[in-house]
Amino acid sequence: MLRFLVARLISAIPVLVGVSIAVFLMIHLLPGDPATIMLQGAPASAQDIQNLRHQLGLDEPLYTQYFRWLDRVVHGDFGVSIHTRRPVLTEITTVFPSTLQLAMAAMVVALGMGITLGILAALHQNTWIDTLSMGIALFGVSMPDFWVGLLLILVFAVYFHWFPVAGIGGLNYLVLPAVALGANFSAITARLVRSNMLEVLRQEYVLTARAKGLTQWRVVVIHTLRNALIPVVTIVGLQFGNLLGGAVVIETVFARQGLGQLAVTAILGKDFPLIQGIVLVAAIVYVFVNIFVDLLYTLLDPRIRPESLA
């Protein structure tokens, strides 16, 4: 297991290096000179610009700039935000917990709803329950998440007054955004669980369990579900990335402070050090979550030898 972890970590290095190069190059791919962009149209003489270029190291070869930048980033120095003048890392760590909380809550909602719908559909294959569950799932994958959020606000906040319209606070404030963010993933989960369950239910050991006279509940929970859920684990890592990305839109819908809202503000304000920091942090988190999920996968399914994944 340790060998697998090490191998998996090593395989992530080229990806992380690539991501860092891409993020570093962002500011150099922009039309125009990075120094001028940093000045954001503030009045500056040619000498000022020259000074800033020197200060930012822009007068040095690109690869020197990259290694300098990388050295700083590795030491936690992502530069300062152009607008707030606060360190980028501080800006990010201030809002990151709220985004993580949202993504986790959405994950719980998605898996809870998705697994329930999937089991119901599979156990009642070709009945109205199956049709209804899969109909809900079809709507789930077809609705843009920000519109789900808007509808939830309309129904549960504006009409019923059960939840606040927007903002951040206790659990009350988390429910609607989490459902909106998790809706899509829950639909995907429901479809996956249904097809896996149908497959597993056909296995001979399930027949044996039934023949022993076990209750439906025991057959489903003890004998079927565990194996039907293994493939779900594989998409959890991938979907976590979508949740992290989806938070960008959902946080805007619910006016929630978070990494996503920070990203949108940064892009609209052309705050490049901040954009670079957010993208880099999100990518790193995503890569490591996927390593963790792979690890979990090998623990759940002993048939998969860790070496084959690495």
């Binding site: 079809l138 709507f139 990305g245 892009i267 052309k270 490049f272 995503y286």
Partner: protein
């Protein structure tokens, strides 16, 4: 997976009943036509396309000109879907706005497919070092989670309709590359590829003329479903203010404007979103229908 030539063979092997034998294409069409949901969805898509093309004729009002006398009116006979914050007819804005939303989606898919297809072909066909380099590059792109890849591209290019389209297209490239690569990797081992090579057919011709028709099915399904994703990502960018800019009508932009009035005017956020839902739902149903028709063994999966 049943490849095109196998299904084709299966079709020709069906006993002759005096009727002309059906080609693979006719067989697929017949299977698709049997799927009622998919056919209805296809009809809906055609109708929507017509409505958007004929927006000038169908829209009862101007989508741009404000009408101060009719600000934020609930749906009524004069304004079937109500009016927005400055009195513009929402139905008219949806008809005109859909043009941009849909065109952005289609162009983005053209970019994603146009770039992803050849890259995936090359990676899968040649394998080895080329494949490793391409696959690593795709891994790097995929490390930007969800919409963040599109956001990063917009951050670099600046926010505009064209740039948002390019951003959406780029963000969908890895999906196409992976699918096409996988298909080519498994298909290139077929005997007919060796046969073509033996008689001196060039690589490009083998990739395009010999292999592509046999792996087209999953690519077409992906293109259909991914058009839906492209529309959603494009509308999301506009919703965030990073794509289409007001006052130009667009479903995402209109939803963002409606968001400000959500506590008083439900129709402003309901109808543009409903329009997106109908289009995506129809695309997904057509995609499911296509998948079942092209590859019957996958049915009910």
């Amino acid at each position: 997976m049943i490849t095109a030539d196998e299904t084709g063979r299966a079709a020709t092997q069906t006993p002759l009943t005096g009727r002309a034998q059906r080609t693979w294409f006719q067989e697929t069409l017949r299977r698709f036509a049997r799927n009622r949901g998919a056919v209805v969805a296809l009809v809906i898509l055609v109708l929507i396309a017509l409505a958007l093309i004929l927006a000038r004729l169908l829209a009862p009002y101007s989508p741009i000109n404000p009408d101060i006398a009719n600000v934020a009116m609930a749906p009524s006979r004069a304004h079937l879907l109500g009016t927005d914050a400055i009195g513009r007819d929402i139905l008219s804005r949806i008809l005109y706005g859909g043009r941009l939303t849909v065109v952005v989606g289609l162009l983005a898919i053209a970019i994603a497919g146009g770039v992803g297809l050849p890259i995936g072909m090359i990676a899968g066909f040649y394998g080895g070092f080329t494949d490793r380099v391409i696959s690593r590059l795709m891994d790097i792109m995929l490390a930007f989670p969800g919409i963040l890849l599109a956001l990063s591209v917009v951050a670099v290019l600046g926010s505009s309709v064209v740039n948002a389209t390019i951003a959406v297209g780029i963000s969908l490239i890895p999906g196409f590359v992976r699918l096409v690569r996988g298909s080519y990797l498994s298909t290139k081992e077929n005997v007919y590829v060796d046969a073509a090579r033996v008689i001196g057919v060039g690589d490009v011709r083998i990739m395009v003329k010999h292999i592509l028709p046999n792996v087209l099915a999953p690519i077409m399904v992906l293109a259909t479903v991914a058009t839906g994703w492209a529309i959603i990502i494009g509308a999301s960018l506009s919703f965030l203010g990073l794509g289409v800019q007001a006052p130009t009508p667009e479903w995402g932009t209109d939803l963002a404007q409606g968001r400000q009035w959500i506590e008083t005017a439900w129709w402003m956020t309901t109808f543009p979103g409903l329009a997106i839902l109908v289009v995506i739902l129809a695309l997904n149903l057509v995609g499911d229908g296509l998948r079942d028709a092209l590859d019957p063994r996958l049915r009910n999966r």
